[in-house]
Assembly symmetry: C2
Homo-oligomer: 463 residues x 2
Amino acid sequence: MDNPSLKNSTTHAVAEIREALGDRLSTAQAVRDQHGKDQTWNPGAPPDAVAFVHNTDEVQKVVAICAKYGTPVIPYGTGTSLEGHFTAPFGGVSIDLSAMNNILEVNAADLDARVQAGVTRKQLNSHLRDQGLFFPVDPGADASLGGMAATRASGTNAVRYGTMRENVLNVTAVMANGEIIRTGSRAKKSSAGYDLTRLLVGSEGTLGVITEVALKLYGIPESIVSAVCPFPSVEACCNATITAIQMGLPIARIELVDEEHVKAFNAYSKIDLQVKPTLFLEFHGTTASAQEQAETFAAIAEDLDGGPYRWATKEEDRQKLWQARHDAFWATKSLVPGKDAFATDVCVPISRLAECVTETQADLAANNLYGPIVGHVGDGNFHVVMFCDRADPAEVRRVKEVYGRMIDRAIAMGGTCTGEHGIGSGKVAYLEKEHGPALAFMRDIKRALDPRNIMNPGKNAAI
Amino acid sequence: MDNPSLKNSTTHAVAEIREALGDRLSTAQAVRDQHGKDQTWNPGAPPDAVAFVHNTDEVQKVVAICAKYGTPVIPYGTGTSLEGHFTAPFGGVSIDLSAMNNILEVNAADLDARVQAGVTRKQLNSHLRDQGLFFPVDPGADASLGGMAATRASGTNAVRYGTMRENVLNVTAVMANGEIIRTGSRAKKSSAGYDLTRLLVGSEGTLGVITEVALKLYGIPESIVSAVCPFPSVEACCNATITAIQMGLPIARIELVDEEHVKAFNAYSKIDLQVKPTLFLEFHGTTASAQEQAETFAAIAEDLDGGPYRWATKEEDRQKLWQARHDAFWATKSLVPGKDAFATDVCVPISRLAECVTETQADLAANNLYGPIVGHVGDGNFHVVMFCDRADPAEVRRVKEVYGRMIDRAIAMGGTCTGEHGIGSGKVAYLEKEHGPALAFMRDIKRALDPRNIMNPGKNAAI
């Protein structure tokens, strides 16, 4: 990190980029700091400069210059990473794509769109609404679609609509050697060649800079029905979910919130839910089919002593329920003022979810930690936010130990160390534990496509 | 291909494999020929030997021996390739995985299964039926699931359930250096590391030999409704499809058959369909929702002058309809006895499908060729089978020219040179046309993972 020749070469790279971009290349400390620190505990590291680009050709120019000098290149979207994806531990140039916010095409007949990488999901959905279309992947934050592709984001709708893995048709990317590629056609399916789209989705900027994304769209459903349903236990919540999914019930959202969250929602969002493990649900379809789905789920819940089941079909009531769910972080945080939040997620086969959640809850309790849990339970994915006083080293240690055991437990149950937050710099240590000998092949690919390791070094499979 | 040192090293490799496998290593001419020629026009090339393996460890042994001698390794499943995937243009050892036919696990709660690569889709579905589960991907042939994963197969159900890309959870593979990897966990989603699963799916044996596959399963729907509906034109069929998909109608199958096929069905399968472009449809759901879907589609069809709409809810009637569709090849072939069939497929954005099909039909007519068309129209994917007298060089030339223009047309419309048949040896020339500069990165990956090019050389991105 203190390699003087690197610093020197970076100086040359920065000077050349300034020639190309003028004052859209910044080395101001405040800008560098903002581009070098995510919203979590992950250690920050500012880049040497930030390039504010407008199009793929400018990204190509920046990457080509960096390639010439061996200078690291770190893509930056909206800065909503939870795993230090965009920090610059080896310095280099942050490429800020947020001004690349043009929606390039919407093809209603084909249910696809093409956007620049900096377009955010809310921006796209506002644009699409009048055409009766939407893009479903919803990681919570109003992230950029390029960043969401690069980190294989997902969220509450993934149980029905899939993650970015399923919803990216192709990407345009600038590779480490400065070449621009498009990874596929607009065809819905293809058997032609290696799946570079899926290779770049989730590669977190370590193989190329995604500059444009083609996405699948969906028609806004005729009817949306939301519901909440308390259950006697986390296990009952999970069993209801398993039954519903086995029946093929096409649930659009099925979210577990634990008792700690329900308490916080009641206080923060002024709603009056029973303090029990609860499922937040949403059904999409025609009026008749959404209704039928909701009734079928109510019957499943009743069999598992769930209920009373509370419906919301009116937009206003639905918004109130989901707003409470979306405010989960702030609701819990308000109960422990002054504490820092340590957020993480894992994902396991759904049959193991109840066990994984309850063991994690027991571990939190045994370590005297406040760590409320929410889960995208239809996918077996859940989040823990542990609140902690960072000035208390014993508490910090307990948080880290519970965190490590949670990941080990998920992997031992046939799951993954992260369902949707990604590896970034935060979970690099767990890649080998999860993938074993497969990691070496990821690194072979990284070396083949980026032999000088300039693309987001230190993240994911990049060493 | 006539490299004497290769031949010599192959002799050593074969001798070592025989030590390991005994009489499960065959060099009999008939066996080699059977493993070196697919069911099409693609030129055959027999391997030097065929290894009949029983498990992943045996595959590893064979690959390690071949790696030592630089001998090509060609995986073989059921031999149902249409693009010469398993021919041996550089000789080498064919690994026949058909005896690896154990279903290793079925996890009903998680809706997943793990099978050895030689298990066929029909075998798996027979096994699953009693549990109310099924695996949807249906390429027509009773292919092995390892082969289907390796070639990114799809078929009639893909419009609703996706292709092998969406339905493979992870694979176990033996890589070129003899290492065994598993490409992911059993979690439904993950953001941990590069997507090696999707990289191996569709790599056609050029990056590794897939020996086990973990798959997503689905509950058998409560109700299945089939229908056929004639339309005044191919365009009307496509427009009905676009409308249905835009509305979010979750159609399970929507198949275009052209007038030539309808004539052939009526003659071969003794049914009495109107001789018009026709959609074969299937709706899955609860009794109420499948019925609602079918009625909604009927209304769409009526608006486009489609109909009369013929339903089939009884298993027997459904079977008769779909049997006709599945017998499409034999039905058309029976009309042109003595001619050879040249089958190919392309896939385009659905908005361009009508245009692509009608231009192709016009080209066939202008060249006096009989080339009936069927299409997985919900995905924009269609097949042409051109019948031709191979002893007539002028006709063969016309077939090849129409074929080339069909692919050029699909690529120009934003589509792909193959939706589901794959590249194999048959479409290698079109990879560059479709992928442009991206192909170089596929080849970089190939070289990185298989520097001596022993894994199925001559196919896909392997040179």
